[in-house]
């Protein structure tokens, strides 16, 4: 341009034209300078804005970083929350499982206890029946005792009666022995008498023979009548002799008669004695009869006792077996109770575990709530930051919009400058370059602004999302807190339930222990009962055996009594026969006495006759010779005498025979007496045996009484024990019933608890899911924040570089302005030089 100025010193027109052009150029340059100034200002403003943008972006980045940090914390906390909730859920599940197990255990326990109750009921019933049986046994034993006492007294009385009977029999026996001795004597006498009679008979026969011989002689005498007279003296002497003999015979007869009398008397006394004996025997028989009856009664009583004892034995065995089954039931009960105790212990442990879990769950939930509150606070803060960030982002957007606008304008200006420069041709080349650079810078600024705008838009979206997420997270945190609160309340309820459960379990444990103790007591008392009932059974068996032996003895005694009675009866009968025979004997004796008397009388008469005969014979003898005639008659008389004698002999023979018979009868009487004595002795010994037997009976009865009393005492104890067993069984049944009820309630409570635990588990699970979602959202937010942070960092960097570049642009624009100004000045100078100062130099 300087050259053109320098070369323009031509004609005025050209100068004018040049001046006009220069003016135009100057105006354009001034315009350019003005524009450049404007651009500079704009660029300065842009730089300022860029810096403030950078600062804001930095601030934003820091905020985002802090947001990211808090988000990180929040995410960590929420993850922790998730873990905690999972733990809570697991714990809840554990608790639920434990509770379910507890419920199952309780149900089993309830079933077991129900079984126990059934067993206890059965036991109670058994004890009841046992007690009843024992009471019955006691009553029957009392009866037995009464019976035994009665038996004892009866035995006592029987014994005394026996003793009396024995004494009486001994007496009778001695009397019988005496009688026998007497009979013996009588028999001896009778024997003697018989012998005498026999002698008498032989004598009589001799007499008869002699008489016969006499008769023969007489016949011979008669035959030799003549000789008779001679022999009369002899005859007389013979008669004398005969008379003497007759007298002697008479005397002998008198003795016989006396003897017969004595015999009669003896027979009479014997008869009376026999009668007495018979009466005594009769009495004995009656007594024996009575004794037999009594013994029968006794035997019946003893048999009754035996039966009763058998019944007692059976009852005792029943008691024993019942006690055995009771013992078995008690053992089972004991085992079941032990099992219950074990189950209860387990339930206690489970409950304790549940309690610990619930407490730790409560603590965890507390921590969760704390974490949730913190999260909520952090989220609130984050939401505030987000809102702030959104506002800032909006501001950034506005700024970016402005930058964009400016860049656009710059671009436009640079393009137009380029176009102008192109129009300017060669002269505009440098300007075109600058315009191009400005355009490029503006383009870059626009691109950066567009990036920023994009980023800010993303940021805004992210902020909005973050805010929404934050709100959602807040809501979720609140829900989580609420749910955790509910969980805590639930856990509290669980804890209370567990405590209640614990208490219940403790009660159960205590009840179980008491039950175990009671069961042990029942078991031991049942065992004792069993032992006692066994010993009772044994004692009773022994007693039964004893009673059986007593019964056997009684039976034998009865048989013996019967035999005794029969023997006595027979004896009595025999005695009666004996008495009868004795009566006959007495009759015979009487007859004998009478006959003997008659004989005596006859003998006397014979003697008298003999005497008369003697006298007659004497007289005959004297008058024999005289009375030869009469001798024949006398012979006849003698023949008659002979026949009479014959008859006498026959009578004596008869008498002898009778005496024989007497003797024989006496012998048999003696024999009978001996037999009687022996029988009496036997009776006495039998009575003695009976007595000893009765004494044995009495002793046995006493023993029975004692045993029965002991049995009664045992039975009373047994009854007491049975009563206590019954009471204990009832108490046990009641306790078990209460236990069952409590267990059922507990089972129901546990089921309820389990149901609530299920609900809790579900809600915890939901909570966990929610929290996981929160965590996920948090993670998303965090990643987004990271992106934002990164983008912001880039943004800041870009803004910083943009600011730097803008500063460069400003500097360059300033240079442009300066150059333009210089140019303008030069042109002005040129103008002045060429057109005498038409133009003012540009400033």
């Amino acid at each position: 341009m300087a050259n053109s100025n320098a070369n323009g010193n031509g004609n005025g027109k050209a100068i004018e034209v040049t001046s006009a052009r220069l003016d135009e150029i100057v105006r354009a340059l001034r315009l350019t300078v003005g524009r450049a100034t404007q651009i500079e200002e704009n660029v300065a403003q842009l730089a300022e804005n860029g810096e403030s943008q950078a600062a804001a972006a930095e601030e934003m980045r820091e905020s985002v970083t802090s947001i990211a940090t808090s988000m990180e914390e929040t995410a960590t906390a929420s993850e922790e929350l998730v873990r905690s909730q999972q733990t809570v859920a697991a714990n809840t599940n554990d608790v639920q499982k434990g509770l379910e197990a507890a419920a199952t255990g309780l149900q089993e326990l309830a079933a077991s206890v129900a079984t126990v109750r059934k067993d206890t009921d059965v036991l109670a019933q058994s004890a009841e029946s046992t007690a009843t049986v024992v009471e019955q046994s006691a009553r029957s034993l009392k009866t037995i005792t009464g019976n035994a006492k009665e038996l004892a007294s009866i035995s006592e009385r029987l014994a005394s009666a026996m003793t009396q009977t024995s004494t009486t029999i001994a007496d009778t026996s001695s009397r019988g022995t005496e009688t026998a001795a007497t009979i013996e004597e009588v028999a001896a006498t009778v024997e003697q008498m018989s012998a005498g009679s026999a002698r008498l008979a032989s004598d009589a026969r001799q007499v008869g023979d002699r008489v016969t011989g006499l008769a023969t002689g007489f016949k011979g005498v008669v035959g030799a009548l003549e000789h008779v007279v001679s022999d009369a003296a002899e005859t007389a002497s013979s008669v004398e002799e005969t008379s003497a003999t007759a007298e002697e015979l008479a005397r002998s007869f008198r003795g016989v008669a006396d003897l017969a009398d004595t015999l009669q008397q003896a027979a009479t006394s014997t008869a009376s004695n026999l009668t007495e004996v018979a009466a005594s025997v009769e009495e004995v028989a009656a007594t024996a009869e009575k004794t037999a009856v009594v013994i029968d009664d006794n035997a019946a009583a003893i048999e009754q006792i035996a039966r009763a004892a058998q019944g007692v034995t059976t009852s005792a065995q029943e008691v024993s077996s019942l006690a055995g089954s009771s013992a078995t039931a008690a053992h089972q009960l004991d085992a079941v109770t032990r099992k219950i105790a074990g189950v209860v212990e387990e339930a206690k442990a489970t409950s304790a575990r549940v309690g610990v879990s619930a407490r730790s769950g409560g603590a965890t939930v507390g921590r969760t709530i704390g974490g949730l509150v913190k999260i909520r606070q952090a989220l609130v803060e984050g939401a505030g930051v987000m809102k702030d960030m959104g506002k800032r982002a909006e501001e950034i957007g506005d700024i970016v919009q402005t930058i964009n606008l400016i860049a656009d304008r710059t671009n436009l200006l640079s393009l137009n400058a380029s176009i102008e420069a192109a129009r300017a041709g060669e002269h505009g080349r440098g300007f075109a370059v600058i315009a191009e650079e400005v355009r490029a810078l503006a383009e870059r600024a626009a691109a950066a602004a567009s990036d920023v705008s994009k980023i800010v838009r993303g940021l805004q979206g992210a902020a909005r999302d973050a805010q929404a997420s934050s709100t959602e997270g807040m809501r979720m945190a609140e829900e989580g807190a609420q749910l955790s609160e509910e969980a805590r309340a639930g856990l509290q309820v669980i804890l209370e339930g567990v405590e209640t459960l614990d208490g219940s379990i403790k009660n159960i444990s205590t009840a179980s222990e008491e039950q175990a103790r009671a069961v042990q007591i029942v078991g031991s008392s049942t065992a004792r009962l069993e032992t006692e009932s066994k010993s009772i059974a044994r004692v009773n068996t022994e007693q039964s055996a004893a009673i059986s032996s007593v019964a056997r003895a009684a039976s034998e005694m009865r048989t013996m009594a019967k035999q005794t009675r029969d023997a006595t009866n027979e004896q009595a009968r025999t005695l009666r026969d004996l008495v009868k025979m004795n009566g006959q004997l007495t009759g015979y004796a009487d007859k004998l006495a009478r006959a003997t008397e008659e004989q005596v009388t006859g003998a006397n008469q014979l003697a008298k006759a003999s005497a008369q005969m003697r006298t007659a014979t004497q007289r005959t003898t004297t008058a024999m010779a005289d009375q030869m005639k009469t001798l024949t008659g006398m012979t006849e008389s003698l023949t008659e005498i002979a026949s009479a004698t014959q008859r006498t002999v026959a009578g004596v023979a008869e008498q002898a025979k009778g005496a024989h018979e007497i003797a024989r009868a006496m012998d048999s009487a003696r024999k009978q007496a001996v037999q009687s004595a022996r029988a009496l002795g036997e009776q006495a010994s039998a009575t003695k045996e009976l007595d000893s037997g009765v004494r044995d009976v009495a002793r046995l009865s006493a023993e029975v009484t004692t045993a029965v009393e002991e049995q009664t005492v045992g039975l009373t104890v047994l009854a007491k024990d049975a009563n206590s067993t019954r009471r204990v069984a009832k108490q046990t049944a009641r306790a078990v019933g209460e236990q069952t009820e409590a267990l059922e309630q507990l089972a129901v409570a546990t089921l309820r608890q389990t149901a609530s635990m299920k609900g809790l588990a579900q809600s915890t699970s939901e909570q966990t899911t929610t929290t996981e979602q929160v965590s996920q959202a948090m993670r998303d937010i965090r990643s987004r924040l990271r992106e934002i942070s990164t983008a912001l960092t880039a943004n800041v960097k870009t803004a910083v570089s943009s600011a730097k570049e803008t500063a460069t642009v400003a500097k360059e624009i300033a240079a442009v302005r300066a150059a333009s100004a210089e140019q303008a000045e030069l042109i002005a100078v040129l103008g002045r030089a060429s057109g005498n100062g038409t133009l003012e130099p540009a400033t």
Binding site: L405, L415, I419, A432, E443, A446
Partner: protein
């Protein structure tokens, strides 16, 4: 080598010799002229004079787009006539050797209704050269 103003309509880059361009203006809105052809967006006042604006999208048969800061008006001079070409964006100028102009393939020429009268390349980029008189001439004779 001469300066060309480049602009973008749709997906294609176009170029105009800077000599035909007066200047570039940003586009806010145009006053609609009733009865004018559909491709005439309206009238704008640029540096004290009224300039009709031809919407090249409509002119090239492309669907309309939303208003953006990028949209510009390339004020061209064809003889005495001044007109504005509304383009999607016009943000740079390039140096193109006019001797390197090539005729577009016939099929394109037919399809482009004669609006494109050449193809040029610069820095591996392809620019379509528009026939400004064709674009504005007919419409202005109608208008």
């Amino acid at each position: 080598m001469s300066l060309h103003v480049t602009f973008r309509v749709g997906n294609a880059n176009y170029a105009l010799p800077a000599s035909q361009v007066l200047h570039l203006e940003s586009y806010e809105t145009a006053t609609h002229v009733p009865g004018a052809p559909a491709y005439v967006a309206g009238l704008v006042q640029v540096r004290g004079r009224l300039v009709p604006v031809v919407d090249l999208r409509t002119r090239f048969g492309l669907p309309p787009i939303e208003h953006s800061l990028d949209r510009r008006v390339v004020v061209v001079q064809n003889g005495t006539r001044v007109a504005g070409l509304l383009v999607d964006s016009a943000r740079e100028v390039v140096q193109i050797d006019e001797a390197a102009y090539e005729k577009p393939p016939e099929i394109i020429e037919e399809q482009a209704s004669g609006f494109v009268n050449g193809v040029a390349t610069s820095a591996q980029r392809l620019f379509l050269l528009v026939d400004v008189p064709r674009i504005i001439g007919e419409e202005l004779s109608h208008g």
